[in-house]
Symmetry: C2
Subunit: 361 residues, 2 copies
């Protein structure tokens, strides 16, 4: 598709424009999600060299055909040995100062490369690449919406299983199965189904605990479409909700709603976190909200920016982030409410579809 | 279990014994599978510091309870900031020369750490850690056998689906579902179901192609039990096998059998590869066997040693490796036959259970 070629060219151009400022004449990419983003290539191994006027995709023999098909904008070169292939490619193209992804290149590979290149040729890049994929274009948003659709449809098929006596892992298994059957390429991450006291653990793994009447059930799930991942959390309650649960649910919901109201281009990520945290703090549950308020989501389920007190990032139009405050009461239960939102100039669109009103199953 | 405590102590002691030779008084571990192997901790983030007399497991607040339960032999320490936590832990314990996993530590994290530690304190380790998990103990072999059992049972449930008109992805989805339902923690890797011309691609992804009469179907699959992964490939044929397919199948089977016959402690990994390759070469299909003959398997589906022409590793009693020659005929079909074997002093035990005789479904 011509439209796709334009998209990749734009992604490359955004970076190429910054070469003079960064004092480089190339960037080496090793992270496969970044390579996919910049070229379209979906293989599991390869190196991408971005030059001022084009991109060169280095792959081994397994991937030569696939790379040619998926990344027609790139010059595709086959290597036998990765280090040798990179050194040749840089040499033949006269590269003098090549930036690289310091967050994903290993010390070992870096040392091997450095030993075969001119001193000072490799320039570590960190902040310059952090936000590479943060701002989504229209096509990426469509893929995220489709991933959300799949996950939502699967949840609606599985929700009837949430009844006393059913094991957490059965619900997780059926959810994963339905998402895949509906077209999800894999699960976005390990589905969480945490019931009763397990719901008090933010990262619980679904196990053999059987749901009971009165249980809170935290369900955190996502589908994958075209490589793009959804991420959503619903907290249901079985049969009945007591006053304490209703109180805590309302606080988390309020934190979630106010944070979403504050999302807009130009807002500081830590301000969104502060707003959610303040609601929970002032109700006395501050120590029980033990994680950040959200994160970017796209080809990775966790990517830039982070919505946390430590973040110094600022929201931009086109970013897609989660908003997911929670309160976890050890030995009792927990509540987390999570939506994905698309940042717009004066607010945001909520991409996820499930209602976050208290739902008693 | 007391037995488990002994196992972890032995794993640590094997490394601690080599400290003088390596000129170090500590090793920093970042790779979570290595940390699991050395401590039992199964969380997704943390750092393990092995000292001459004990191990220290650093985790963030999410994992403090879990780490205490899963890694009782380790001193568990909570950090707020990972870099700060490592620097404090090394300082308090007077570490002078800390080895680290050069293959998994990123340049970025290394730079940050290096800036806060005495010059020369961090020592990159590569070969010294490559084989850390290669030799399996009895408990690990039991877990691998159980993973194989699950995968085998699932395949036997799914094999009836392999008939003309069924999509590859349906078979893959049902296989993954059955493995999970039978207790697999996840799939060992993305299940491959490659039929007809897709079978000519060693790393095909299951798609919407419908099986046809006469198709070869390459099915590469594995289950996970206690973190340990199985890996096995069966190539079936639907309805009828023509002479050419029978010929190629017999060659791959012969390469597979001869390689397995050669597996024993003391054999060079590249020799096993050479033996399989020679069978395929002499029958004229050398250029169509485009990957190595096998690899170690355990907590990772691909780990040391590698059975390839480039390997300089030697098989040892207790290693578990795959033997998986293949012939891929572009535009036609392909055959791969893969078993997992346990290296013994005078031979090997085949851990996988499916017969590898030609099977017409």
């Amino acid at each position: 598709m011509g439209g796709e070629a334009t998209v990749y060219r734009q992604r490359l151009a955004r970076l190429q424009k910054r070469f003079p400022h960064l004092g480089i004449d190339a960037v080496l990419f090793f992270e496969m999600k970044n390579i996919r983003y910049l070229t379209g290539f979906t293989g599991s191994d390869g190196v991408f060299i971005l030059l001022p006027d084009k991109g060169v995709l280095l792959v081994d023999g397994r991937y030569i055909t696939q790379a040619g098909e998926e990344a027609p904008q790139s010059e595709v070169v086959q290597y036998r040995d990765k280090i040798g292939g990179i050194v040749s490619a840089l040499g033949e193209r006269g590269v003098k100062r090549a930036g690289f992804e310091a967050a994903s290149l290993s010390v070992e590979l870096h040392e091997k490369l450095r030993g075969k290149l001119a001193p000072g040729l490799l320039i570590p890049l960190t902040e310059a690449l952090t936000g590479l994929r943060s701002v989504k274009d229209g096509q990426e948003v469509l893929l995220l919406r489709k991933a959300v659709d799949i996950a939502t449809d699967a949840l609606l098929q599985v929700i009837g299983l949430m009844r006393p006596g059913v094991e957490e892992r059965t619900i997780a298994l059926e959810m994963d199965y339905r998402m895949r059957a509906l077209g999800s390429e894999e699960t976005s991450f390990s589905t969480i189904v945490a019931s009763g006291i397990n719901a008090a653990l933010p990262h619980a793994r679904p196990g053999s605990r059987k749901l009971e009447d009165g249980d809170a059930v935290v369900m955190d799930f996502g589908a994958v479409h075209g490589g793009y991942r959804s991420d959503e959390t619903c907290t249901f309650v079985l049969g009945r909700a007591d006053a304490k649960f209703r109180e805590v649910y309302a606080i988390v919901k309020d934190a979630h709603d106010r944070a979403i109201e504050a999302v807009r281009a130009g807002a500081a990520c830590r301000e969104i976190d502060r707003i959610a945290r303040q609601v929970i703090d002032k109700n006395g549950y501050g120590p029980h909200f033990s994680h950040g308020t959200g994160h970017g989501v796209g080809l990775d389920v966790h990517e830039a920016p982070r919505l946390s007190a430590l973040s110094d990032q600022v929201l931009e139009t086109g970013m897609v982030v989660t908003v997911e405050p929670g309160i976890y009461l050890p030995g009792l239960w927990g509540v987390r409410i999570e939506d994905m939102v698309l940042v717009k100039e004066n607010g945001c669109d909520i991409l996820t579809k499930m209602s976050k009103e208290l739902k008693i199953l």
